[in-house]
Symmetry: C2
Subunit: 350 residues, 2 copies
């Protein structure tokens, strides 16, 4: 009897539907008959919000929670649309899901595949993973302002960090580092300025590291880390960092390893209490939407992370290998979004 896999698919806005279609195509080909796969489409995103006035209602939220995992394309409309100002979709949908489903690990592997061109002249071997915290830090929405719109306005943002939240993330980071050949963990923070949060992070890494004698531990300030990332990225193995620093460093990591067209991510609830959510690092890119110009590779690699997360690690490895082969065979000829997906799905079927 094939096992069941029930996925929620939020294709989203802009290029989201195009790249997600390819990810579903590849995922379906990868699991074949071994899995009874059902996908349920959810319409959430900027387009849905502008048409319906609702970002996501409680019933839909409850329905989402019943799936085994969520595949998300990209959400967000025209950034200049005043109805979407202040990140209303990003916060009301993406961050809401990450927080409500306790996606405390935001896992972002970075690999420079052979044959992929880096903007760096001599990148060396780039193969690391960023373990970004997903439910705390400056992302908690714990800010406010007074005297808004006056010369006396004061606007605060509060970064909230808890021992509970930091420790579980750091533990995940050490487990990850311990499972990798290089066994090296780098904490990235700004402990010399953000002393309260930084102290908690540093002390937590120090304490947990005692349980992982084989993992070498390193520390870099976020500013210095950006230098290392462009000067010598091969030094990195497992980076553990907070929500905001992780946001920044993973875009940079994507850039040096071939661009956000290739960067996958998983918003993971390791406890399995809630469905984890897999999405490319890139946004909805409204300017190129609907033209079959977007590279679906990041979405496909995110589907591979999904497969691994739900225990289908063989299928996951096959997808990654097929992507790697496809990247190696890509010439300079431009292929459409669906041509890339078709090629990878065909390789998996054969």
């Amino acid at each position: 009897m094939p096992r069941n896999l029930s996925l929620a698919v939020i294709a989203g806005d802009g290029i989201g539907p195009e790249v997600t279609a390819e990810a579903v195509k590849v995922l379906t080909a990868a699991v074949g008959d071994s899995v009874s796969l059902t996908t349920t489409d959810y319409p959430f995103g900027a387009t849905h919000f502008l048409a319906s006035g609702t970002i996501i209602d409680d019933e839909d939220f409850a329905r989402l929670a019943r799936h085994d995992a969520i595949l998300l394309g990209a959400v967000g409309g025209d950034p200049r649309d005043p109805r979407l100002a202040g990140g209303i979709i990003e916060r009301g949908l993406l961050l809401r899901l990450r927080f409500a489903f306790d996606h405390y690990v935001n896992l972002r592997p970075t690999k420079l595949y052979p044959s992929v061109v880096s903007p760096l002249a001599s990148p060396g071997a780039v193969d690391f993973v960023v373990v970004r915290e997903g439910t705390e830090g400056p992302y908690v929405g714990n800010g406010g302002s007074i005297r808004r719109g006056t010369p006396h306005e004061i606007a605060n943002e509060v970064s909230v960090n808890t021992a509970f939240g930091v420790e579980r993330l750091v533990r995940f980071g050490f487990e990850k580092a311990n499972s990798r050949p290089a066994k090296k963990l780098t904490l990235v923070h700004k402990t010399n300025v953000l002393v309260h949060a930084g102290g908690l992070w540093q002390r937590t890494v120090d304490a947990v590291s005692a349980e992982y004698p084989d993992v070498a531990v390193d520390y870099q300030h976020i500013d210095a880390a950006t230098i290392h990332m462009v000067v010598n990225p091969s030094q990195f193995d497992t980076i553990v960092t907070d929500n905001l620093f992780g946001d920044i460093i993973t875009d940079l990591a994507a850039a040096i390893s071939g661009g956000i067209g290739l960067a996958a991510s998983g918003n993971i609830n390791p406890d399995g209490t809630f469905p984890s959510m897999f999405e490319p690092v890139h946004g909805s890119a409204p300017d190129i939407a609907g033209k079959q110009l977007a590279d679906p590779t990041a979405a496909i690699l995110s589907a591979a992370l999904l497969l691994d997360h739900v225990g289908l690690s063989d299928a996951s490895a096959r997808v990654t290998a097929a992507v790697e082969a496809d990247l190696a065979s890509r010439g300079s000829a431009k292929r459409s979004t669906s041509e890339v997906g078709d090629a990878i799905a065909a390789a998996l079927a054969s």
Copy 2:
């Protein structure tokens, strides 16, 4: 009668004294007889703190305030020394000076000089300036923790942003952009997540931009900005950003334009109420200290910013030109710290 110029010199720790000696040498050569230059050395830094138990006392502080400007090398000791944990020197000296002397503009020009090697394969023409806020944001030290060291610890950091502080910085940014040929200002923030601070920044830029019709205005999220910085840095002209994002993006900017050995900065009090302070972006690099290995170029270019700030713009331009010529003539042969300073000073004297 030559005009007087009274400088406070804080050579600091590690490579600080070596690079500062060269900066003073070059500065002295640049002003020649036109200026009656006096320099007063102050011993502040990690070494001084470890020896004396004091970072900086109130009397010294008052003395510092009487100089026309401050030249600073680099401060900070061994990061693993527990007596220096939590950025005690960085906060107690560097940030204290920036805040007390109201250095609300942290000016960091980035230029990829011809003949300087960038880690980017095709950097293009890189010539922009970052106008980083220096007295607000997450740097205000407005955080705290409860239940420290227990599983229930909560550590918060508060980013404080005021209309007063943001507006004066943004105005400086527009003035700067307006004075440059490209006349383009890019706000870098994270308005889709940090909505209160981000809203204030965005509204301020929108409002002030109305007074600068010739300046084109752009916006990038900090994460996306790191991508643009490695993929297409020549798009930037004037970047306006907050204290933390400016810290991050200027290290990255330094990296892509030849490294922090070349990156200069000015902590500026545009009102002239307090002395402004000029320092290389790099740190004290204790590992290479005392070996004449450090490149003093960043310190020398910081001295050029100082000269410009105190109204000696001809001398400033001469230093910059001499540095540019020196960079162009540098072969692959390694020169010592003082050899670089000697060469540039000699060029100025001739």
